[in-house]
Amino acid sequence: MLELDRISKRFGRVTVAEELSLSVRHGDAVGVVGPNGAGKTSLFGMISGDLAPDAGEVRFDGRRVTALDASVRCRLGIGRTYQVPRPFTGLSVFENVLVAAQQGAGTRGRASYALAAEVLAGTGLADLAGRPAGRLGLLQRKRLELARALATRPRLLLLDEVAGGLTDPEVAELVALITAARARDGLAVIWIEHVVRALTATVDRLICLAGGRVVGDGRPLEVLATPAVREVFLGTEASADALTEVERDA
Amino acid sequence: MSTYPTSTYPTRRTFLGALGTAAVAGCSSGLRESSGGTGRSLKIGYVSPRTGPLAVFGESDDYVLGRVRAALAKGLSIGGRGYPVEIVVKDTQSSAARAAEVAGELIQRDRVDIVLATSTPDTTNPVSDQCEAARVPCVATVCPWEIWAAGRPAPTYSYLHFIGTEQEVGVFAGLWSKADTNKVVGGLWPNDTDGELYRRFVTAEPGWRVSDPGAYEDGTQDYTSILAAFARDDVEILQAAPIPPDWVTFWRQAAQHGFRPKIVSVAKAMLFPTVAKTLGELAEGLVAPVWWSAAFPYRSSLDGTTAKAFADGYGRPWTPPMGFNHALFEIAVAAFRAAADPKDHAAVAAAIGTLKGEAISGRYDFTAGPSKNVSMAPDLLGQWRRNPAGEYDLVIVDNTLDPAIPLQGEFTPLR
């Protein structure tokens, strides 16, 4: 459903994508790992429409979306969360989700309220519906970020480090939410994560990015075992630890 | 905040003048030799505010200049020699600093033989100062002579032909005594040079009790407190010197609050027909000074055009500065003729001081002014009246200072 065709993007001398090609099928769950500056978040930007590639093409359902506005891509079915949650702080939790339900999913009136309520219930935010989004804690903000993305009824969901900064039980809770959403809506997910353990437990395909290129793509454990990926990961100590942990789990 | 006619403080003006003097003095040594050296044509520089908040004064410039250019198209014949006449026009953009700058340009780059300056102290004073410094003759108008003469050294090269505020207050007071009132005069005087002059002269006029709520800021939107003070003092005569927009605001609020004195005399704001048109019915019966109107029985000394024909040719409602701006050119031409050599700046400047004559604006006399180099124009009073066509005319009701100008009606109090 999603195809990236040799996209390139530079910020001055930093290359975040170089002739990068990638395709994701309906229902896929793809994890993306890579060191800082590998181009992971920029990749999301180019898929969701925040960022325009210098060259190459982005296709969604066979349609060229490279030049389309983020709001249009959202309506086509691409949803995204930010690494650092960006709720509309002046709106209530319910309103945050309602905007997404009306604008992103294109529902009106009663249907939009029902959708918003359903998503809030599904993400465990129903009790907080009336609270101003600016007064939420981190976990709640992360949930809201996810809820808002889900309320747009995406067919492809881009998750940017949903687990970062959360405790293990909290991560488990979010992973369960995502798994449930996938099971229910059959949506495809591309998931960037530093916490590799959370990833390997959920995804069935892992991509490793470095310097704007794909250095590994395949089954998670196999990818992690390739020398190129190991080399990339050994560069950073924290990631090396994570790698060891994953291997131990396996 | 003061963005309208005749509002410059002596201190600021003096400062600008000094600045201009210094600038021109620096390069005037080369100028003196070149005076009279720019061929045989006579060049006249004309400085006025054509854009900016004062643009209402310069609005008729294109028309006035067109008439003058047509009248002088064949040039002047002086002492048996023919001189083509060239007019160079500069816009002050309603700024005193810019006025000084363009005067400098006229003197140095265009090498004009005389500079004419008009409309508000922001134009007349910096331009006159520049001309004094560069020793170039200058004639100015449309600025009360008290403001022009105050705070500067006795002028040699610059002259002014216009009315004076003290004289105007005297004429107003004469009119006030014609009606039966309690002699309480309310003063609506803003915090600018004109306001200060009226406050000073009206307060000094014997026989009247003055109610003065204080100098408000130009641009004030609400006059409730002033109206309350007038009501408290039982004001039956109003004397105002506001800028046009403030007057419209004030007079409408006065109507809203039911304040209607017997006599309302308004300097400055009610000079222009457009303001009367704006006020509509509220303009009826307001008294305003008349420096010049289409009804003046005078002719252009250049081509004999009557004031009426001159005003009618404009195609829009005439404005008082029109006549005086035209007169500037008449005075310039008279000065060229009176000087032994029209290209000799000192001779032309000296010649202006001997002039006595008539222009489309009326009589001028530089030999017997109230101050050096000043020729005082008479000030008449008019009352705004609705004509059968539904428009408002300024009808002359007082001609004490120039009985040659016929009265057009009787003064009638508002109540």
């Binding site: 925040d50 983020a70 309103e95 294109g106 | 939107q221 109507a255 809203q256 039911g258 222009f272 457009t274």
Partner: protein, 279 residues
């Protein structure tokens, strides 16, 4: 004293009416619109043209002027402000300043520098008495209009889907896009509303006083002060700011008329010093 406060509140309403569009544009788009006052003046000229062209009284002219002003605002946003807003903090200020100069010069060319005014008929000149105070109908209507406009804007923003989109976009335009909000039309509508309220305010000013092509500057200063004193980008704050301006002016005038306007500027300056503006 009481008279001064009541009059001050009424005058403040007029200030707030001018200021609310400025406040809205700043609150939503971070647009500091230097041309706001000039757009208000344009509104007054449009009403004048409507009155002259169709013989329409000012109230009917509204029907013509407001939609037109809305369209102009939306168009300005799409063609001019949008690009300027992408150009950093200073660009919108410079661009709208340029717009202000262009409007002034166009007006001078098209309508001459003569002061004009709108004829509101007998209503505009009448007053009424309440508890010994004489109040002007026009001022009272101006205040009422300000309250109604601010109130409806508040309801529009707080209660409607459009309002939610506006608030979401104001919070975070990128995140709003990702939630499917088409940001351009939202901004265009907000700019349209902003200019329409400016035109409405301009018409009231035209009824109360005169305007000429250069009146915009003074209008902008008072509006700007009301916005800053009331707290940036808050609608009710803007009303409060306008009223504070009006009452200050009236109370100081009781003591000495000379310092009335100065006091307002000093107050504004004081607020800036105590609570500096952060964009």
């Amino acid at each position: 004293m009481i008279a001064a406060i009541v009059q001050g509140v009424l005058v403040g309403g007029t200030y707030a009416l001018v200021a609310c569009g400025l406040s809205l544009a700043f609150g939503v788009m971070r647009l500091v619109n230097i041309a706001h006052g000039d757009l208000a003046v344009c509104g007054a000229y449009l009403a004048l043209m409507a009155a002259a062209g169709f013989g329409a009284p000012p109230v009917l002219a509204l029907v013509l002027v407001l939609p037109l002003a809305f369209g102009v605002g939306a168009l300005l946003q799409l063609t001019l402000f949008e690009r300027a807003l992408r150009g950093g903090e200073l660009a919108p200020v410079l661009v709208t300043f340029g717009l202000s100069v262009v409007i002034q010069n166009l007006l001078v060319t098209g309508a001459s520098a003569n002061p004009r005014s709108l004829d509101g008929g007998a209503f505009a000149l009448a007053g009424f008495e309440v508890g010994g105070l004489t109040l002007s109908w026009l001022r009272t209507a101006g205040f009422a209009t300000a309250v109604v406009v601010l109130g409806s804007l508040h309801l529009l923003l707080a209660r409607t889907g459009f309002g939610r989109r506006v608030r979401a976009t104001a919070d975070d335009p990128e995140a709003a896009r990702l939630s499917g909000v088409r940001v351009r039309p939202v901004f265009a509508c907000v700019a349209g509303i902003s200019v329409a309220t400016a035109a409405l305010a301009g018409m009231f000013l035209g009824l109360m006083s005169t305007f000429d092509p250069y009146s915009g500057g003074l209008i902008l200063i008072f509006a700007f002060e009301a916005v800053v004193i009331g707290g940036l980008g808050s609608l009710w704050g803007t009303l409060a700011g306008g009223i504070v301006l009006g009452v200050t002016q009236q109370l100081v005038a009781l003591w000495d008329v000379r310092f009335a306007v100065l006091a307002v500027h000093v107050l504004f300056f004081g607020v800036l010093v105590v609570r500096p503006v952060r964009a």
